[in-house]
Symmetry: C2
Subunit: 411 residues, 2 copies
DNA sequence: GATAGTTCCGGGAAAGGTG
DNA sequence: CACCTTTCCCGGAACTATC
C-alpha cells in the first residue's frame, strides 16, 4: 500500500530529525532536501487515473472518467476552497513532451475543448478515498494534427491530461500533480468506430510498458496477434468458446493473403499494422480487421447461442467448405462467414445435380440486418434444402431450440 | 415604393426650408420637429423581416432568416464599421410589451440563446438592397414560460426580435430599428412537430392583422376552418385536387363528434381550438388535427399519384363505405383513411359469404411504414380478392401504372 | 405510475475537403 | 471523380419532471 510507504517515510524523517544534532547542519540540509524530493515523487506517483476515459472517444458525446489521489486522505492540507482538477486533451506530441520534461510545463494550445472539465478533488470520509469524478464531460470538437502520408485520423492517438495543484499538510508544500490517460482515438461519427478500435487494440496489445507516448511496434509476431484476436474475440462476443488452431490458420491465410504456407510457417511470421488494418484485402473493399470486427459484431448481436453450440464453423473458406461437404449426403450444410461481405453469414450445402452428381451450393450471405429481421434459426428452418448440419446433426436438433416465429412478422 | 415617399419627404422639407422666412421661427421649429417624427416612423417601418425564421423551430437545429432595411441604400450613413443586427428570442409577453410601448426598451432576460445571432447589415451595390442575412443561426435551448392549466409547450408562441441602431445620412440621426418575426413555436424533438404545426396553422389562419401579439380567436366558423384545411391540404400534399363538400362533411362529423347533423347544420357552427387539437377524439388516442396531419403525411409520401387519380375516396367512414359497396359486385373495393390509426389506409371490399350474401370486409390498415416497404399499388395487386375499384374500374386500370416490383425486395 | 417534456445518441444522408 | 472526413439532423430510447 502506498500509504505504508508514507508512514515509513515519516518515520525515517523523524529518526533523521532526532539525529539532527549528530549529523551536522550541512548533511542535515542535504538529507532534508533529499527527503523532500522523495516525498514529492511519491506524491506525484500516487495521482492516478482510476477510471479511464473511453479509448475510442466520440466528439459531442458524454463520457466519464475519474482520477484518484491515493495519498490525499493522508497528506492533503485542508483548504477553504476545494482543489480543482482539470482535464485537457493533449496530442501525442504534447504527451511526449510531458513525459520527457519533468518540469510542470503548461500546454501551449489545446487540441480540443472539453466541456465541464474542471471538477473538485473530493475526499470521501466513508471510503477514505480522494477522487475527482468527471461525470459529465464531453469533447466538443477535435483539432486534427497534420498527418504524414497515408495516415488516417483514426490512427491518431491523443490522451487526456488530468492536472491539479494541491498543498500538502505537513510542510505546506504546493505540488503540481499530473497524470495522462491511456491513449485515445477521437472520432466524430460511428462510421469511424471500426478503425479507431483497431488502433486502440493494436496499441493496448503491443505497446511496451514504459514507452515514449505512444510509440508501438509496426509489426509483431503472428502468434501474439492470434492471442490478441482471441482475447478480443472472447471479450467482444462474450463467449468462452475462443478461437482454435484451425481458425488461426484460416485467419493467417486471409491476413497474409497466402494460401500455400503451412500453419507452422505462419507461426514464425510477423504481421504488420498495415496488413492488420490499412491494406485492403485483395478484391475486397475492406481490411482484415474490418472483416474480423464484422464477424464479431454479427456473432455478438445475432449468433451467440449458435456459436456457443458449436453450430457455426465460421472461419472456413469456400474451398474448404466444398471439400468438407462434397462427400456428405444430400442436404448437409455448414455455416461460414462470408469473405466478401462484412458481417455476412453464408450457408454452404450439398445437393444432387440433375446428372446425379453432388455439388455444393452457397446461399447468398445473410447480413446482420437480415438476421435482425428474421433470425438465423428461423431462416434455416425455412430452407427446405437444408437437412443436416455438418457433419451429420439433424437441423432441428442443432437449431430447433432457437426457432422463433412461425413466419416473418413484417406487414 | 417606400423610397418615393422619402423623396416626397425631402421635397417637402426643401419647400419648407425655402419658405422658412415666411413661416416665422416658432412655426418652423414645430414643422421641423414634425418632419423628424415623420422621417423616423417612415424609417422604422421600412425595417422588415425579408425571410421569416421557421414558425416551427427546433432547438439545436440550424435555420435561416433575413431582415431588410428598405431605406438603407438611400439613407444609411456610411460608417467605418458595419451596422450590426441582432436576433433574439422573445416570449409572447415580451413581444406584447414591445408592441405596446413605443420606446426602445431593452429586453430584461433572454428566453433562449441564439448562436451567431449578430450579423452585419450589408448593402449590396448590385441589387441596391440593404439586408442582414442570418445564415447560420441556431437556437441553443429554450426556457419555457410557466404555463397556465392545460396549456402544452407546443401552444406557446414566441418570436424573434431583430434590432439594430443605425445613423442616417442627412441629419446624422441615430435610430433604433426593431422588427418582430411571425410567431414561432419552439420544439425540442420531432415528436412535437405535429402539435406545433397545429398552433402555427391556427395562428396564421385566424389572427387579425393588427392584433396584440399573439392573441387569436378561441373558436372560429367551421367554414373558415374548412378553407384553412383545404389550403393546407393542397400545400402540404402538393396537389391541385383539394377537399370537396363530402370531405368537409366527413371532417365535420369527426371534429364535432356529431353524426346526426346535416352538412348545412355544420356550415353555421363554430369550431374551437380545443376541438381542433386539444381534445382526444372519443375512443382514439389522438386529436382531430393529429389524425388529419397523418392523412396528409401518408398522402404526400406514398399516395400522391393515387390521390390525383381520384383512386382514393379517403374521407369516408366505415358505414358509408359499407353502404357504397354492399350492392356492388364481388371484389369491388375502395380506399379509406383509417379512423383508428394515424396515417393508416384501409381497403374495404365486398365479398360473398358462404351463405351467398354479400358482405363488406375491411383489411387491416396499411401504415406509412408498411407502404414504404411495399407500395400501395403492389399491395393491391397482391390481394386477389380485390377486382374493381369503386364504382367499377378494373384494378389494373386504376393502379396498373403504379405497380413496381414483382415481389417484395426484402431478404 | 402515467403523461409530458427533454436529453442522448446511433446512423443515414449529404456536404466539405483533398488528392 | 473517388475517397476520407465531417456536419446535419431524424427519430428511437431512455431519462426527468410533474401531476
Amino acid at each position: 500500500r502506498c500509504e505504508n510507504l508514507v508512514e515509513v517515510y515519516f518515520q525515517l524523517q523523524q529518526q533523521v530529525m532526532g539525529a539532527s544534532a549528530e549529523l551536522g547542519p550541512e548533511l542535515l540540509a542535504r538529507l532534508l532536501e533529499r527527503f523532500n524530493e522523495v516525498l514529492c515523487s511519491l506524491v506525484k506517483s500516487s495521482f492516478l487515473v482510476e477510471k479511464q476515459p473511453p479509448q475510442v472517444l466520440k466528439t459531442q458525446t458524454k463520457f466519464q472518467a475519474s482520477v484518484r489521489f491515493l495519498l490525499g486522505p493522508r497528506l492533503l492540507k485542508a483548504a477553504a476552497k476545494p482543489y480543482m482538477v482539470r482535464a485537457e486533451m493533449v496530442t501525442e506530441k504534447q504527451a511526449r513532451e510531458l513525459a520527457l520534461s519533468t518540469c510542470s510545463n503548461t500546454l501551449s494550445e489545446s487540441t480540443g475543448e472539453i466541456m465541464h472539465n474542471v471538477v473538485a478533488l473530493e475526499t470521501n470520509p466513508t471510503s477514505g478515498t480522494c477522487c475527482a469524478n468527471f461525470k459529465n464531460v464531453l469533447l466538443k470538437k477535435i483539432k486534427r494534427c497534420e498527418r504524414k502520408g497515408s495516415e488516417s485520423v483514426t490512427e491518431e492517438k491523443c490522451a487526456v491530461l488530468f492536472s491539479t495543484t494541491v498543498a500538502l499538510a505537513p510542510s505546506n508544500i504546493s505540488v503540481y500533480l499530473q497524470v495522462l490517460s491511456l491513449p485515445i482515438v477521437v472520432i466524430v461519427h460511428g462510421n469511424q468506430d471500426n478503425n479507431a478500435k483497431a488502433t486502440v487494440l493494436w496499441d493496448n496489445a503491443f505497446s511496451e510498458i514504459d514507452r515514449v507516448p505512444f510509440v508501438v511496434a509496426e509489426r509483431v509476431p503472428w502468434e501474439k496477434m492470434c492471442d490478441t484476436l482471441n482475447l478480443k474475440f472472447m471479450a467482444e462476443v462474450q463467449t468462452s468458446k475462443g478461437l482454435l488452431k484451425e481458425h488461426y490458420f484460416f485467419l493467417a491465410q486471409k491476413i497474409f493473403n497466402d494460401h500455400s504456407a503451412s500453419p507452422e510457417d505462419f507461426q514464425s511470421r510477423n504481421v504488420s499494422w498495415a496488413q492488420f488494418n490499412k491494406e485492403i484485402l485483395p478484391g475486397r473493399g475492406f481490411t482484415f480487421w474490418q472483416w474480423f470486427d464484422g464477424v464479431m459484431e454479427v456473432l455478438k448481436k445475432h449468433l451467440k447461442p449458435h456459436w456457443n453450440d458449436g453450430a457455426i464453423l465460421g472461419f472456413v473458406n469456400k474451398q474448404q467448405a466444398h471439400d468438407l461437404l462434397i462427400n456428405k449426403p444430400d442436404g448437409t450444410f455448414l455455416l461460414r462467414f462470408s469473405d466478401s461481405e462484412i458481417g455476412g453469414v453464408t450457408i454452404a450445402y450439398v445437393t444432387r445435380g440433375k446428372d446425379g452428381s453432388s455439388q455444393v451450393e452457397n446461399i447468398q450471405p445473410f447480413s446482420a440486418k437480415d438476421l435482425s429481421i428474421r433470425s438465423l434459426g428461423d431462416r434455416i428452418r425455412d430452407l427446405g434444402q437444408l437437412r443436416n448440419l455438418y457433419p451429420n446433426i439433424p437441423k432441428d436438433q442443432a437449431f430447433g431450440s432457437h426457432y422463433n416465429s412461425e413466419r416473418g412478422e413484417l406487414g
